[in-house]
Amino acid sequence: MTTAPASSSHALTAPGVPGRVCGTTGLSVCLDAQRFIKLNAVVGIVFLLLGGIAALLLALTRWQTVHLLPADWFYRILTFHGINMLILWILFFEVAILYFACTTPLNARLFSRKVAWVSFGMMLTGGVMVDYIILAGQADVMMTSYLPLLAHPLFYLGIILVAVGTLIGVFNFFATLYVAKRDQAYTGSVPIVTFGATAAAIIAVVTLLHGAIVMIPTFTYSMGWTPQPDPAWYRLIWWGLGHQSQQVNVCAMVSVWYLLSHVILGARPVNEAVCRTAFVLYILFINLASAHHLLVDPGVGATWKIWNTSYAMYLAVLASMIHGFTVPAGIEIAMREKGYTRGIFGWVTALPWKNPALSATVLSVIIFGFLGGITGVTLGTQQINIIAHNTLRIPGHFHVTVVGGTSLAFMGLAYYVIPLIFQRDFILRGVARWQPWLFGLGITLMSFGMSFAGSMGVSRRSWDIDAQGIYGPAAHLWLGVLGIGGVLAFLGLLTFVLLCVGTLFFGRKIGAGTAMSDWGTPPALAGSAAGSLAQDHYATKGTIVLTILFLACFAVYYFANWKALADVWPVR
């Protein structure tokens, strides 16, 4: 850790600012930012492990043959799992990503160490508080905590602390962006990674404000200071928090896709204008997607439902479909420019599949797009929701978006962030190579189990399906698939956590000026020229075939669901 030499081409750190030059990338790293990236990432991974242990217990309970936990602990652990995974792991890791995105690519220094400490302290206090209250049995209310179901006031207070702490971290991000621009730390437009992170941060502000609007009156109600908020109002505002927070994840995940495909393969977006517009579409239209949790609620009319789930929401869907093209297209062009030009898919087979960050990225794109995206849009259709609302199809969908998509992408990122930020090489590299595959396979199996059980009417958040006496062997079989997938995914997660923690303690130190060990980068073949396909708009043959295949799957699934809907009783 040395002060950046002024002569280094990319290390233009302002004089007097502690920083170091990364021996691998040549980028300058702000030491303040580095400390908080470490802190937030490590705490995030601890919460990931806690949530993962909970996930294993839940999978082994819903697997009816095993049926591990008693009813009260099932609902307690389910609450614990949701909060640790969807709020604590993801928010902590996203704050780490934000601190990275506003400093290193912009050659900037973190706005304030104090603000970062306050943010981190509040988030950690809130997180520990919430976890303690849940495990103490004082908040068996599920992640959504729908009123009039009531938890201990500290539960709501803890969530408020986490939300406000995160908001303060986001403020630090924006302030850093402002200072970097003002001090001309960089020239031109911010790179796409920072742009995507900024979109995530903007959505996060809107999201966390919804959280405050819904949690503060709930907290005061739980203290007995104010009357009970209306349950329907609570649902509407809660989902302004709940759904959008997932869009923060999507933005962060897509930014990580761009980042990793660039770091591993040198890929760049085919068309920056299109990619950036897609991020803007997320910001503008995603709020409306919250409506699709209320599609079979009383008191919300058909016009409102159709409007909120129609073209405006589909413009946010369009954004994902754009990234789903531009990310693989960038990879294809990079590979073709390196000389891997054989056939339509020669560039795919030549990818460094032994690089865990690459396999994590590719699996993340495929699982998120093919499984998560297609199911999500279909379930969010006004009328189709009738045959899916609150069944296991819903977690079947969001486990492939948030876990198969976001968490897997974040894991891939860790395979570079840990060596680059902690300056230690990964231990057990052979194990690391199959970790994303194990995790991806587990999550996919689990999601299939959930989705098929759900389409047979098995409800989510239910401890037992035998008490109802109506579910046959097929439903039990799919719950078994859920259980086996859950166990595999947990093993993949545990492997990841052990690799990370082991690396922090036992990894070979990477000194100043030395590069991290290469995970696998395809070499440029003889006769290839970087940038040679920059103007060739028809060089993405493989990607266009893949995306058209995707669209075909989407259409088949979508219309199959309309068919299934047409088979149930008429209802108005």
Binding site: P231, H262, A267, V296, T547, L565, V568, V571
Partner: protein, 184 residues
């Protein structure tokens, strides 16, 4: 570049494969947008969310009155695992008329007998927490909130015994909260 600031002018109109994909994706989004209004006018399953404010006590009183006037029998539960609802009154609303089901921890009260092909206005509400009305094995799902009289205008088109499962978490006995609709 993904990781470095852009200095050259970076705006380009989409072209080639990218333009093709943008066109296809946009077209598909329009198709999906149009499906919902289309189904609203041509399809039969459209939950409009018709609802009225009601206090839990009022709703219970209306349900009790409905049961008193329309009771046709008693349902005895034979699923041993579910001892929460040993017995429910069965009520048969007149065709075209109103039917009531009250949700509370942890039962749907009463059971209904309906006629195939007839249309009913089914009123759903909860006395305590939120509950989920999930009709199996049809797999039709609706949200039930305390304070809201949620009206579904339904037309049973298949005969048999249907089970109402609660699919919104409502406490420790949630998994055992079941009700019945018989269609003849």
């Amino acid at each position: 570049m993904s990781l470095r600031p852009l200095t050259t002018p970076w705006f380009h109109a989409p072209a080639g494969h990218e333009k093709l994909w943008l066109g296809l994706a946009l077209l598909w989004c329009f198709v999906m947008s149009l499906m919902m209004p289309y189904w609203h006018f041509r399809g039969k399953q459209n939950s409009t969310g018709e609802a009225y404010a009601v206090t839990p006590a009022d709703f219970l009183a209306r349900t009790e009155k409905f049961v008193e006037a329309n009771r046709v029998g008693t349902f005895r539960n034979t699923v041993e695992a579910n001892a929460l609802v040993p017995e429910l009154p069965i009520a048969e609303p007149p065709p075209g008329g109103d039917a009531y089901i009250t949700g509370r921890m942890w039962q749907w009260w009463p059971a209904l007998r309906l006629r195939v092909g007839e249309t009913y206005r089914l009123h759903l509400s909860a006395l305590d927490l939120q509950h989920g009305f999930s009709l199996q094995p049809l797999n039709m799902n609706f949200q039930v909130l305390p304070g809201y009289d949620h009206v579904l205008t339904i037309t049973p088109t298949s005969k048999g015994e249907f089970t109402i499962v609660c699919n919104e978490f409502c406490g420790i006995g949630h998994h055992a909260m079941t009700g019945k609709i018989f269609v003849e």
